[in-house]
Symmetry: C2
DNA sequence: AGTTTTGTTAACCAAATGGTTAAACTTAAT
DNA sequence: ATTAAGTTTAACCATTTGGTTAACAAAACT
């Protein structure tokens, strides 16, 4: 942390605190402490809590749809796209598993924020392409006719994100709290998710 | 609201405010206003914000695992149990789609809270029964051998909860914001989820 | 009817919190 | 060396917020 310039130190601390506590729970003093600087510097660099928060929220909002956008942009088959999506998204989530919970929580507190992430509209466009590709493969008999592309996307996102954001609950309910290595379980689930998703495509 | 006694009015208002804003974002004054009473009455009935919150959190924590516990307690086949779980849980979530987001967010802010919901331990026991039933049906060749019971549970919960808590994001990304009836989409998805889950069991 | 208990309110309080200010320190240009 | 600009800090301020108090009202009890 100490080898970063002040602005980056603040941003890194803000990421941690906002993601862990949310906008309401985050304290400017905590961010300053974690960054190892005086609280007034936060305002010197970012004017207000709201503006600092906005920086982080937009950044993480983008990240949330980035992989999806990236992977749909390729010219692969639907099955290849989905498998790639699962792998890349998993890699990213392993770094910051609670990031989607942060973004979704904040969107629910104030849905208008969502519209300030233009990448979501861009992603929308990309997804239309995927919808076409799915229609095509339906015609070719490769994908079951009843499948809606919205469902596939929601399925993949759900299966990847929800176990991570609900980690504590699932560890307590489904595993032996002291013995389980949940990170390993999540890694193992990659193949399971691919299996479930790809099977759901079969005609 | 006005036909309830004061204590129930407070609890109902607290449910709404805590679920919408979380512990940190909730204001005692907002709860009092929504209940139509003086703020001091909140403390008269529940001593502190923390204690009022605890009441709601425990109640909702219980509700989150209640259906699972109830349905696993029956003597049905695994497929019947899962189909029933999806139907009952959907009915409940239609009433309060953001409740799981509330519980999970608060658990992440303070994981120790989780241990104060004894129903989760009870649920744990019930799930062992389901695990045995799954093993049995694996022996009988009804379920694919590689399937782990933890995965089925996480799959069902994920597919049901995540689209609801991410509603705003999904509507923006996948649908025509102005035209879509997301409630209808969620209802339609019931059958889709059953399909995906039941297919994932097939040997 | 009178008295005690329970319920309810307005006014108030102390702590926390986001934000400001003015001075001090650092760096680089002149 | 002097100045000017940018950076950093301690002290301070105003507001919000959870919580308290004391007086008042309404039941419940005698």
């Amino acid at each position: 942390m100490s080898d970063l310039n002040t602005e980056e130190k603040i941003l890194e601390a803000a990421r941690e605190v906002f993601i862990a506590k949310g906008l309401d729970g985050a304290r400017m003093q905590d961010i300053a402490d974690k960054a190892g600087i005086n609280k007034a510097l936060l305002h010197y660099y970012f004017r207000s809590k709201e503006m600092l928060f906005q920086k982080i929220f937009l950044e993480k909002g983008r990240e949330l749809v980035q992989v999806l956008e990236q992977v749909v942009g390729t010219n692969l088959s639907v099955r290849e796209i989905l498998a790639m999506l699962i792998d890349l998204e998993s890699d990213k989530l392993d770094q910051e598993p609670l990031m989607p919970l942060f973004v979704i929580s904040e969107i629910n507190r104030n849905p208008a924020k969502l519209l300030q992430v233009p990448e979501i509209q861009a992603c929308r466009q990309c997804l239309k392409k995927l919808a076409l590709q799915i229609d095509l493969e339906k015609e070719q008999g490769k994908i079951r006719k009843e499948l809606q592309f919205q469902d596939v996307i929601m399925d993949v996102m759900s299966l990847m994100h929800f176990p991570r954001i609900g980690k504590n609950l699932f560890v307590e309910m489904l595993y032996d709290r002291d013995k389980v290595d949940f990170a390993k379980e999540v890694t193992r689930r990659r193949e399971h998710i691919k299996f479930v998703i790809l099977r759901s495509l079969e005609p």
